[in-house]
C-alpha cells in the first residue's frame, strides 16, 4: 500500500520543483471569471450610499425620490434610523438598478439626515485622546527597571507605523442570484465554505444548504474578506426584492474608507544591553488604533527577540478611522518595526554591527534560534553585508547616502481544517475536490501537484475542483493556514484512493497491494520496474465503479504539517538627503516554511510580500482630516502604491532541504510581509545616521529627521 507520509524530496518528480500556476493562462487570457467579471442574464447593479461623517446617528432616510429614478428596481436600508455610523464610508442604504450609472445617480437622490457626533480620527497621541482610550495590557517579567538602570548601554526611541488599508486588486463584493429559495453567491471571499452558514444565521436563507458560493479565482483578500459583509447581505436582499441577480462590488473609494484598516502601532521604547551587545532589559509604552472598538489586541513586545526582563504597557486608541480588519500577519509588521528599530538603534549606540548583535542574542529567539542564525548568514551572503555595511551615516560625498538594515520575523502557519475528496475513474481520470479558495497564492496548483505526485502522474492528468461551497468544507484562508490544510487533506485523500486502486490491481500483477507503487504513469512492483501496468489499464480494472476516497486534515497534531517559521530580511537603500526620497535598491528575503510543494509559487508569495512591504514602508497611509473626520486620500492618486520603478532588486531564497523538508508543510502567506518595514527603516537610519521614527518613510519625515540630527 502507498504510504501517506511525504516522500523524500529527492524522490519527488513534482513536489519542491518550480511549477507554473495552473490557472495562470486562464487568468491572463480572461477565460476564468473573477466575481467582478461575472455578468448574469438580466442582472442589476447595486450601489451603496455611505456616511460622509466619521461618527453620526442616522436620523431619517427618505428613499422615495430615488425609487422614482429611471432603472431603479430595489432599495435596501443597511443602517436603520436611530443607529450610529462609526466612520466615513459606513454603509447606510443600498440600491439596485438596471445599470451601474443609474444606480449611482439614484443613490444620490436618497435623502439621509444625520445627527453629527464627536469623532476622533487622529492616533497621534493617546494622552490627547481623552476617553477614547482603552488600557489593554500591562505586563512585567523579571526585573526590567533594575536591569535598565544598571545596563551599560541604554537606547531610547519612538517608533511606529500608520494606519493602512489592504488595497486588494479585486474589490470586495459579489453577485447574488436567487432560484426560488436557493441563493448563488459569486463572492470575492476568503471563506467559501463558511459563507453559507453566515447567510443562514443572518436569515437571508432558511438553511445553509440553500446557498452556493462560487469563487473559482479571487483577486486578493489579505485578511479583509473573511465575512459575507453587510454588502453581501444587502446584495442578496436586493436580488430577492427585485427577483433578479444583482452585482454589487465596492468602488475604490469605499474600499479605502470602509473595507478594512490595518491598525497603527507606536511605541516609546527603552532597551538596554551590555557593551558586548547582550540584551538585558526592555520597557515599552505602546499605543495604536483598532477601530471604534479597539479590536486587534495588545502587542507582544519585544517581537521575536524575547528579552526575558521586560515591562510592556499598551493603550488602544478608539478612533473613527475605519474598521480594523486583519491585515496580512496581523500586528506582526507593526511589532517588528518597533522591536527591530529599537535593537538597531541600540547596536548603533554600542557601535556594533546589528548582524553581530542579533547573532549574539540569537538564543532569545527560542526554538527557531538555529534557523534564524542560518537565515541571517544566508541573507548576509546574498546582500554581501559584511563588505557593504558601514557604521551609522554614509560618509560618501554627495547627497545620496546608502545604508543597510536587517530584520527577523516569525509566524505560525499551521494548516486549517480541510476536507478533500479524490475520485479515480475507470478511464484513468483523476479529480480532487475541496471547498478551498485560492486567493491568488497558488493553492489550486499545490493541490494538483500533491495529487499528481501521489498518483505518479503528470500534473495535467489531474483535475482540481475548488472554490465551490458544494465541495467538501475547507477553512477560511487566513493566517497562512491554507497550504497546510489542503496539503494534508489532499495527500490523505489521494493516498486512500490510490490504495483502493492498488488493491484492485494487485492480483493482475501477482503481488500484494503493499508491494505496489504508482510511479511514472504506471502501477508497478516496488523494485521491479518490469512488473508494471500502465495507469489507464490499471484503472480499467475498476469496471464501472469509480473510486472515491476522502481525506481530512487531522485534528490536533497532523504529521504532514507543522507550524512556526522564521525569516530574515536585509534591505539596501539610497536616500537623497536633499529631497528625503528613499529608494530601496535591494531587498533580500530568506524564508523557511517547512516542506515547499511548489517552489515557484512559494517564491512568488515572497516577491509579492516584499513589494507590498516596500509599498507600506515608503508610501502607504490613510490620511485623515480631524476637522471633517474624512479620509482625504480615498483614491489611488494620493493613497500611494509602489509602481514597477519603485522597487529595486528583489532576491528571494527559500530554506529547503534537510532540517526543513521533514517538518512538513507550513504556511507562507504572512511571514515575508512582516520584516520589510523594519529592514528598510533600519537601512535608512544606517544611511543617514539618524532614525526616521515612523513608517511610511515619506520625504517630509526623512527631512525632519535629518534636520534634528544631521548626517554623522
Amino acid at each position: 500500500m502507498a504510504d501517506y507520509h511525504w516522500p523524500p524530496t529527492d524522490k519527488c518528480s513534482l513536489i519542491g520543483r518550480r511549477i507554473s500556476r495552473l490557472d495562470g493562462p486562464w487568468k491572463s487570457s480572461g477565460r476564468i471569471k473573477y466575481s467582478y467579471d461575472v455578468n448574469r442574464p438580466n442582472m442589476l447593479h447595486g450601489k451603496m450610499v455611505f456616511s460622509p461623517y466619521a461618527h453620526a446617528k442616522v436620523v431619517s432616510i427618505d428613499t422615495s425620490a430615488a425609487e422614482k429614478m429611471p432603472g431603479v428596481k430595489a432599495v435596501e436600508i443597511m443602517t436603520e434610523p436611530g443607529k450610529e455610523v462609526f466612520w466615513e464610508g459606513h454603509e447606510v442604504v443600498a440600491i439596485a438598478a438596471e445599470t451601474e450609472e443609474q444606480a449611482r445617480d439614484a443613490a444620490r437622490r436618497i435623502q439621509i439626515r444625520y445627527e453629527k457626533l464627536p469623532h476622533l480620527v487622529s492616533d497621534a497621541a493617546p494622552d490627547k485622546a481623552g476617553e477614547h482610550t482603552k488600557q489593554l495590557a500591562e505586563q512585567t517579567d523579571g526585573n526590567p527597571d533594575q536591569n535598565l538602570q544598571q545596563a551599560e548601554v541604554v537606547s531610547e526611541g519612538e517608533y511606529g507605523s500608520s494606519v493602512i488599508t489592504h488595497c486588494c486588486l479585486e474589490a470586495h463584493g459579489q453577485v447574488a442570484e436567487w432560484d426560488g429559495d436557493n441563493l448563488t453567491m459569486y463572492a470575492s471571499t476568503q471563506n467559501v465554505s463558511g459563507i453559507p452558514g453566515e447567510l443562514a444565521k443572518a436569515n437571508i436563507v432558511t438553511s445553509a444548504d440553500k446557498v452556493r458560493v462560487l469563487t473559482p479565482v479571487m483577486g486578493g483578500g489579505f485578511g479583509s474578506k473573511f465575512g459575507a459583509d453587510t454588502w453581501g447581505l444587502a446584495c442578496a436582499r436586493l436580488a430577492k426584492k427585485a427577483g433578479r441577480p444583482v452585482k454589487m462590488m465596492l468602488e475604490r473609494d469605499q474600499e479605502l474608507m470602509a473595507a478594512g484598516a490595518r491598525p497603527s502601532m507606536y511605541a516609546k521604547v527603552k532597551v538596554g544591553a551590555k557593551k558586548d551587545g547582550t540584551l538585558v532589559g526592555w520597557a515599552s509604552e505602546s499605543w495604536g488604533t483598532g477601530g471604534p472598538d479597539a479590536q486587534g489586541g495588545a502587542p507582544n513586545l519585544p517581537y521575536v527577540v524575547r528579552i526575558p526582563d521586560r515591562r510592556v504597557r499598551h493603550t488602544a486608541v478608539l478612533t473613527n478611522i475605519g474598521p480594523a480588519r486583519a491585515w496580512r500577519a496581523p500586528n506582526h509588521p507593526q511589532m517588528c518595526v518597533i522591536t527591530m528599530s529599537a535593537l538597531e538603534d541600540l547596536a548603533a549606540k554600542i557601535g556594533m554591527d546589528p548582524l553581530d548583535l542579533f547573532q549574539k542574542n540569537i538564543q532569545m529567539t527560542g526554538q527557531l534560534a538555529k534557523t534564524y542564525s542560518a537565515e541571517l548568514e544566508k541573507a548576509a551572503e546574498l546582500m554581501d553585508w559584511k563588505k557593504k555595511w558601514h557604521p551609522r551615516g554614509d560618509k560618501a560625498p554627495g547627497p545620496i547616502k546608502k545604508g543597510l538594515g536587517l530584520s527577523i520575523h516569525t509566524w505560525g502557519g499551521a494548516g486549517h481544517p480541510s476536507n478533500c475528496n479524490c475520485t479515480i475513474q475507470p478511464d484513468g481520470s483523476v479529480e480532487v475536490s475541496l471547498g478551498s479558495q485560492d486567493l491568488g497564492t497558488g493553492t489550486r496548483t499545490v493541490i494538483g501537484i500533491i495529487t499528481a505526485e501521489t498518483m505518479g502522474l503528470p500534473l495535467e492528468a489531474v483535475k482540481v475542483n475548488i472554490g465551490d461551497s458544494k465541495y467538501p468544507a475547507d477553512g477560511a484562508s487566513g493566517g497562512s493556514t491554507t497550504v497546510g490544510g489542503v496539503s494534508s487533506s489532499t495527500r490523505r485523500a489521494a493516498t486512500a484512493a490510490l490504495n483502493q486502486l492498488l488493491e484492485k490491481v494487485a492480483p493482475s500483477l501477482s503481488a500484494q497491494p503493499d508491494d505496489l507503487e504508482a510511479v511514472d504513469g504506471q502501477i508497478r512492483v516496488k523494485g521491479n520496474p518490469s512488473k508494471a501496468i500502465p495507469w489507464k489499464q490499471a484503472c480499467a480494472k475498476l469496471g464501472t465503479s469509480p473510486i472515491t476516497a476522502a481525506g481530512q486534515r487531522q485534528r490536533g497534531n497532523d504529521d504532514l504539517i507543522s507550524s512556526g517559521v522564521g525569516g530574515a530580511q536585509m534591505a539596501e537603500v539610497s536616500v537623497d538627503t536633499e529631497t528625503g526620497i528613499v529608494h530601496v535598491d535591494k531587498l533580500v528575503a530568506v524564508q523557511d516554511c517547512g516542506l515547499v510543494i511548489d517552489l515557484k509559487t512559494a517564491e512568488s508569495q515572497v516577491y509579492g510580500a516584499l513589494i507590498m512591504g516596500i509599498t507600506y514602508s515608503l508610501f502607504e497611509e490613510k490620511i485623515m482630516d480631524e476637522q471633517t473626520g474624512r479620509c482625504l486620500n480615498a483614491d489611488l492618486e494620493f493613497y500611494k502604491l509602489a509602481g514597477i520603478g519603485d522597487f529595486g532588486d528583489i532576491v528571494v531564497h527559500m530554506m529547503t532541504g534537510p532540517g526543513y523538508d521533514e517538518r512538513g508543510v507550513i504556511g507562507l502567506g504572512e511571514p515575508p510581509v512582516v520584516s520589510p518595514g523594519a529592514a528598510i527603516s533600519n537601512a535608512v537610519a544606517n544611511a543617514i545616521g539618524v532614525r526616521v521614527p515612523t513608517i511610511p518613510l515619506t520625504p517630509d519625515k526623512v527631512l525632519a529627521a535629518l534636520e534634528k540630527g544631521a548626517v554623522a
Binding site: 480631524e626 476637522q627 482625504l632 500611494k640 520625504p699 517630509d700 525632519a704
Partner: protein, 329 residues
Amino acid sequence: MEPFEYAHPSTKQEAIGLLGSNWNDAAVLAGGTDLLSLMKEYVVTPKRLVNIKNILDLNGIRSGAEGLTIGALVTMEELLEDKTIRSEFPALTHAAQGITSPQIRSVGTVGGDLCQRPRCWYFRNGYGLLAKDESGRSLVPEGENRYHAILGNSGPAYFVNPSSLAPALLALGAKLQLAGAKGQREVSAAEFFVIPKSDGQRENVLQPNEVLTSIVIPASSRGLRSATYEVRHKTALDWPLAAAAVALKLEGGKVTAARIVLGHVAPIPWPADNAAKELVGKAINESVAASAGEAAVRGAKPLSQNAYKVKLAKVAVKRALLAAAKGGA
C-alpha cells in the same frame, strides 16, 4: 455622473458656439483624463460636453519663423517624441517625462495639462476650489496641508497649480492662443494663470466660452538652455512635491538672462524673477545654483505641515540650473 449632452464639433467656431456663458453650461473635452474623474465624483456637473478632438487644426507641432507652435490637442506622447522640442526646449521634454503613466501620455493633451483642475484633496472631496467648510472657513491652514502651497498662499487659495508643463512654458516665455466668441486673443503663459480671490473665480483667465487652441514658444527662446527638475515621491505616476523649470541665456559661460519658474508650490506656476536676476553675470556652478534656490523661495510661508516643500523647491531650482547649464540647446 450626471447626464449630459454630448457635442462633437469639427471647427473652432462651432465649438465656441456650443460653449455657454456659465461654467456649468458646458465643458471642453479633450483627453478627458481629468474631466471624466471630476464628473464621476460630481465635482463638476456640466450640462454639455464639447468634444474638441475632431477639430483637426488643434493638432500638430509646427516650427516656423514666429517660433514653435504646439496644438492644444498634441498628446504628451507626441510632445515627448518630438525631436525639435527635445533638442531646442528640453525643459518641456523633461516635464512631460515626469508623467510616468502610459495611459495619460497616450490620451492626455498639452491643453488639458494646462487646464486641468487642482488636485487639492479638499477640492476633490467636494469642498470647492477654496476648500471651505459649511461656515466658510478654509480647511487647509489647520488641516492636512502637506501637499499645499508655500508661496502665494496668503489665502483664500491654498491649492497648488497641477500642470506639469506650465513651469517650463513660463520659463520659455510661451504664449497661449485662446479662441472665444469675440475672436482670438493671446496671453502669455504667465498671465494665463491667476490666483482666485473669491468664490466663483477660477485658476486661469479662460472664460466659459473660450478654448485654448495652441501654445507658441517664441523663436527668441531657441538658443536658451533649459531644464525642468521635479521632486516626486514615487517613480511611478505621482504628482511632483515641487518642481522647477529654468531657461538660461549663456554667453562665454556666463548667464546673460535667466528665467526660473517653480511648480507645485503655489496656486500658480511661480516665477522667481529675483532669483533669476541674481544669476546674471555668473557662471552656473553648485554654489551659484544653490544660492538661486535659496533666493527662489525667499518669502515662502509654509503651512503647518509643508515646510519640507521649501527645501524641495530649493533643490529643484539647484538641480534644474545644473542640468540646464550642462546640457540643453
